[in-house]
Amino acid sequence: MKRVYVNEKWCLACHLCEYYCAFANSGETDMVKALKDVAISPRIRIEQQGDISFAVSCRHCTEPLCVKACISGALTQTDGVIAIDRDKCVGCYTCILSCPYGAVMPSPQGAVQKCELCVNNAQGAPACVGGCPNRAIVFEER
């Protein structure tokens, strides 16, 4: 399946992926309205140290420990994409305890949030990839 892959050699630490992610999942149609004066909580996050930087988001594992460990049945994997049912999630954070990439995080709306490859929002394709100015994030089969 197609996944999001990052190449840290090309990452500029511009954090645009984080903003595109936050916009894509805001439900807003206007980027300014979605992001102006808002403390964003993106599902893709940049790690940065000295001159190294790279983005981390859900790897949509073939052996998803978060889904297997989920105590409520809120995390499911359909056609390879791991998604969270926020109505079912009680916020126990067992998924955060389980994810080897640190790619599941508490959501400001309660429950947890994670990258769903933009299949459950209006984008249809990962917004972080489209917004990356240096092709450090790609969406492809490997």
């Binding site: 990052v6 140290q49 190294i52 409520s72 954070y93 640190g102």
Partner: protein, 409 residues
């Protein structure tokens, strides 16, 4: 192929999903003592808290059995396993033949003998949905609750009924709360947090006897109460397989594929003991993620595959009134410690490996630590200072990161 599963919780569901990865046709019968659709047991405290409801706490969707070709015998109890004739006898006198059997019989609450306990009219355990319903009914009017046991079940119960009870007192023989997962300092931090919410603790003491409407403690004080919850612990429910002749210690002995010592009989979940990948010791690890994964491995094996992965370990993610804590592995070896405000972190390491951790407050990305323990990653292969500071992929080498973020996960 006739598969029979005794039990209807996480290990049973894991087994169904494991079987269906390899065998779409075989028939699966699930024997469930509780007359409910599969639900998540740990969610009963969230149910009382109002964070979920009986529909949303279902562990799998309403069409789970139908979609997976399962017959659910609901409200039926298995009374005997005949390992020679390959059949399970039920409480209604019928018998189910099996080609492959999974015992996923879970735990049963352990209620220690206490003088005068039988005279306590309103006493409850806190383990099943029926328990939660009964406790909710007893707390329709605010009443004074005594909880015996300051472990995970007792304290999740306390959190769940905080808004319903007029007072909550928790008594435990141990000198600290959550003794199975926290060290002294961490326990004190969580205790202070719960006390600030109104929970009262009496530690290092136990009930000598119940008389009238009170519990007289060995230390001398009397605790008046209306409703009693016993949450001292649970024991693996092993009786069926023990009587059938399977090898049982504290839990049913299984290999990594869920096989018991009886041919074609598997076991998974809280009724079993498994090899802790951190210590190499066989012990009961009654935790939902382990149960699901053991069940899934057993299901794959039952359908002719090899599904076992050696990764059972102690893991807890739990929260009380907004304070999150996570613990993993064992607390042996050298300690890295970091404390600020209400946040608390201890990493335990030995032999160049991370062995365990306790995180309270800031629990973000803890899974990176969990993976280091599970994968036995040599600590000298990463930047130790960075990994101690916080869980981050930056601590790995560039090559390792390229594998993690660039390859198929």
């Amino acid at each position: 192929m006739e598969y029979v599963i005794i039990g209807n919780s996480a290990a049973a569901v894991g087994c169904v999903e494991g079987i269906r990865q390899r065998d779409a046709a075989g028939h699966i019968t699930i024997v469930s003592q509780e007359a409910f659709h599969t639900y998540s047991r740990p969610l009963i405290s969230y149910l009382l808290l109002g964070k979920t409801d009986e529909q949303r706490m279902k562990y799998r969707p309403d069409d789970f059995y139908e979609k997976n070709g399962c017959t659910l015998l609901s409200g039926r109890r298995a009374v005997r396993v005949d390992g020679t004739a390959h059949r399970v006898e039920l409480d209604d006198g019928t018998a189910l033949p099996y080609d492959k059997l999974l015992a996923a019989t879970g735990s049963v609450p352990f209620v220690p003998p206490m003088e005068g306990l039988e005279q306590v009219k309103e006493r409850f355990t806190f383990y099943t949905l029926a328990d939660a319903r009964a406790l909710a009914a007893a707390l329709e009017k605010p009443r004074r609750v005594l909880i015996v046991g300051a472990g995970l079940i007792g304290l999740k119960c306390a959190e769940g009924i905080l808004a319903r009870a007029s007072s909550i007192t928790v008594v435990d023989l141990a000198d600290r709360i959550l003794p199975s997962i926290l060290d002294e300092e961490g326990a004190a931090l969580v205790q202070r947090h719960l006390e600030a919410q109104g929970v009262r603790f009496i530690l290092g003491d136990s009930v000598a006897r119940f008389d009238g409407d009170g519990a007289r403690l060995k230390g001398g004080q009397t605790i008046p109460f209306d409703v009693l919850v016993t949450a001292v612990g649970v024991r693996p429910n092993v009786s069926l397989l023990k009587e059938a002749g399977a090898q049982v210690q504290r839990g049913v002995i299984t290999d990594v594929h869920g096989r018991t010592s009886l041919p074609e009989v598997y076991a998974a979940g809280d009724c079993t003991q498994s090899v802790d990948t951190v210590t190499g010791e066989s012990r009961v690890l009654a935790l939902l993620p382990n149960a699901y994964m053991q069940g899934e491995a057993a299901g794959i094996s039952m359908a002719g595959g090899e599904g076992g992965v050696d990764r059972a370990m102690a893991l807890n993610a739990i929260g009380f009134c907004g304070l999150h804590l996570m613990t993993a592995g064992v607390y042996d070896g050298e300690v890295y410690e970091k404390k600020d405000g209400s946040s608390y972190k201890k990493l335990f390491y030995a032999d160049n490996r991370l062995k365990g951790y306790i995180l309270i407050g800031d629990v973000q990305r803890a899974g990176i630590y969990t993976a280091l323990i599970r994968d036995k990653t040599p600590l000298d292969s990463l930047d130790f200072e960075l990994i101690c500071e916080k869980p981050q992929l930056m601590a790995f080498t560039r090559a390792e990161r390229a594998k993690k973020l660039g390859g198929e996960a």
